[in-house]
Symmetry: C2
Subunit: 418 residues, 2 copies
């Protein structure tokens, strides 16, 4: 089917989805999950095609993200079932008042309508995104990466089979068959049809959406996250937090890329950090972290000399850029210039420094004495996550079901005129 045909079908079915009750949506989700499990043979066969075509073209890490197994398929189905338990975001009365003219003014949450998601190779995004859109009353249009097309198509087929069995329109969940750039451009240009476009992937994809989209778009995921170790920091907390933020899963957007250290604590902290991130890890057979040090840090510990570019880079790797600063003010200023406004942390025992940092750092999540790795829909108690917004309009930080809704005013009168 062409992208234009899919867009038109999606628009035509959005009112049907918007008016479903919570019970009906939950029934649909249950059937979608069942069919994913029942179709595991077909999904694995399709996935094998993708993996074989990709071998040699993409890195082993990417192959690992792409490859499915019975247990990963069970996880996908479980992910869809988890959404059943989440509260329905649609139809909440956000506020209610009587105006001076005697009008009853209700502000009510409503679905956005049609949500398009352009994503890269992980096939599980397909079922996650479809489930979150359905629960939030939105028709979804999924445009996955070409490497995972066969897998995603098989997963969507299963979910559509579930919808069919439940007597629901299959067009609640749509996948784009055209995996050339053309279809992405068509989605970006579909004014009046796509109510929200969410790019999930690398910085290039997100920039392309922001620069080219004529439809509303939410920037997600790029994270140059910093941890600032204040002069009053508890050294043990600081070591634990930096180790965790940098090494627990370096490939994700909420991992740390930059370390800022107060000059008064640098002599004590940096050697201890080097021991923890480099020597101890090497001794334990783990990948040691490459430290890229500014001039002041380089006078205290060995490391690769940092370039200015290092402080503007999302390494997504065992690399940490380190800079010594004069105070919390300079730390906040550095973050203001170099951060992607995702997640930043201060380690301090000084309330004044903490307050300055949370007040002056303009990022989606600002931490005091905790790892940046907590910026996540699950960790924040949203129960799910459609991506992490790094923009300020509409949604910021982890986006859950409520962030996939808009609102409208319903105004009840008895003949009022102005």
């Amino acid at each position: 089917m062409t992208t234009k045909e899919i867009l038109s079908k999606a628009v035509n079915t959005k009112y049907a989805l918007a008016s479903l009750s919570s019970e009906e949506k939950n029934r649909a989700l249950g059937l979608m999950a069942d069919e994913i499990e029942k179709s595991s043979g077909a999904i694995l066969a399709a996935n094998l095609k993708d993996v074989e075509a990709a071998r040699g073209n993409i890195s082993d890490v990417m192959i690992d993200r792409l490859a499915l197994s019975e247990s990963r398929i069970a996880d996908m189905a479980a992910g869809v079932r988890n959404v059943i338990a989440l509260p329905d975001p649609v139809g909440r009365t956000l506020s209610k008042k009587t105006t001076a003219d005697g009008l009853l003014l209700y502000k009510v949450s409503v679905p956005l309508g049609v949500v398009a998601i352009i994503y890269e190779s992980r096939p599980n995004v397909t079922s996650d995104a479809a489930a979150l859109c359905l629960k939030s009353g939105n028709v979804c249009i999924l445009r996955g990466g070409k490497e995972a097309y066969n897998s995603s198509k098989a997963i969507v087929n299963a979910m559509r089979e579930g919808l069919l069995k439940g007597g629901f329109p299959q067009d609640f969940v749509n996948i784009i068959d055209d995996i050339t750039r053309q279809s992405a451009s068509e989605l970006m240009a579909a004014r009046g049809q796509v109510d929200l476009l969410i790019p999930r992937g690398g910085a290039g994809l997100i920039r392309a959406c922001v620069e080219n989209a004529l439809v509303p778009c939410i920037e997600t995921g790029t994270g140059i996250c910093s941890v600032y170790v204040d002069k009053s920091a508890d050294i043990q907390k600081a070591l634990n937090i930096v180790e965790n933020a940098k090494t627990q899963r370096p490939s994700v957007c909420n991992a740390q890329e930059t370390l800022l250290v107060h000059k008064d604590i640098a002599d004590e902290f940096l050697p201890a950090l080097k021991k923890r991130l480099c020597d101890d890890r090497a001794a334990a057979g783990k990948v040691p972290v490459e430290l890229r040090v500014d001039e002041a840090a380089g006078r205290i510990i060995d490391g690769t000399p940092a370039t200015e570019q290092d402080f503007d880079t999302e390494f997504l790797d065992y690399i940490l850029a380190i800079k010594v600063v004069n105070d919390v003010k300079e730390a906040a200023e550095h973050i203001g210039k170099h951060s992607t406004h995702h997640s930043e942390a201060i380690v301090t025992e000084d309330k004044e420094a903490a307050d300055y940092f949370t007040g002056h750092v303009d990022s989606a999540a600002v931490y005091v004495n905790a790892s940046t790795r907590f910026t996540d829909g699950g960790m924040f108690g949203l129960g799910c996550e459609m991506g992490i917004s790094t923009q300020k309009l509409h949604a910021r930080g982890p986006m859950g079901l409520e962030e996939l809704n808009s609102y409208k005013y319903v105004v009840i009168g008895n003949g009022q005129v102005r």
Copy 2:
């Protein structure tokens, strides 16, 4: 000053403004209002230049919008003072919880940062927009129409004088001196500097912003608003509502452009409406409304035959497009295809029809038995208005101070790692 210089100054001052207390912001607003009044001579002289340059180039209606007087200047100052009484939207705790990991998670409202407003000829937008931005903690960059440049510049000079007298940075309020298209393009392209761009003006300006802006932008104001008169309507209510929505102020975005009438009530309602909108108005020396009737309506009353284009036109004039429909479902479908999702009304005594309409019409404000003219920040009790959003992302309908804020998560831990 060049637009680039203004952008850079605005960004540099945004943290200073974001961290002001409510008392300080209110003091600044009071001083800005005082200086507007004290500068009335300079403002009137500047305005006279604008009016003389514009005469002959723009319509008398536009000249009237452009021209200032002592009393209009007093109104501007009063408008700024009104903002003092409004609640400060910054720093509200929107939610607060303890996560499973023992993190204290606060969701706190914060300013957007730098808000740019591109608007057309009304000089009072200058003081309104500056006051709302300041109270909501945002540095504003005003880019008014070239016809009103001297007036707007004089108003901004007065407000900056007020800031100076209070010891505040003058760069809280900025006006763009370059009134060529170049400056508008620079604002639209200022990624990382402009946090929100609000176009206020005609459909062409709004389309240009949506299509060209690389910065986040909110569509405002275009209104093709419909009133649907159901078969169960109270005829008197319907006549009052249509007369008000169409004629009370036809040049504004919440005025009615389209009338949909149920076929079972059309024979009774349309002749009564024609009498009210045409004959009675003519007899009273008022402009009669031109009725553009579809085929079915044309069999009941005389009128200009409506073209399909008439149902997609924001007349902003004493013109009403009329269509007879089979039922509320067809009315909602017509609105879905032709509306700009601003404001729509149903007139009905039937709860089921009202519920169908409010459930299926996807506009910012959906009315039962009231005029669409109520869609307004003041009428909705927001105390002010920065424009009426016709998009679904971030803000919908009248935008007040809260809609000029974003939020961030402040997360307090005691050493937590994942």
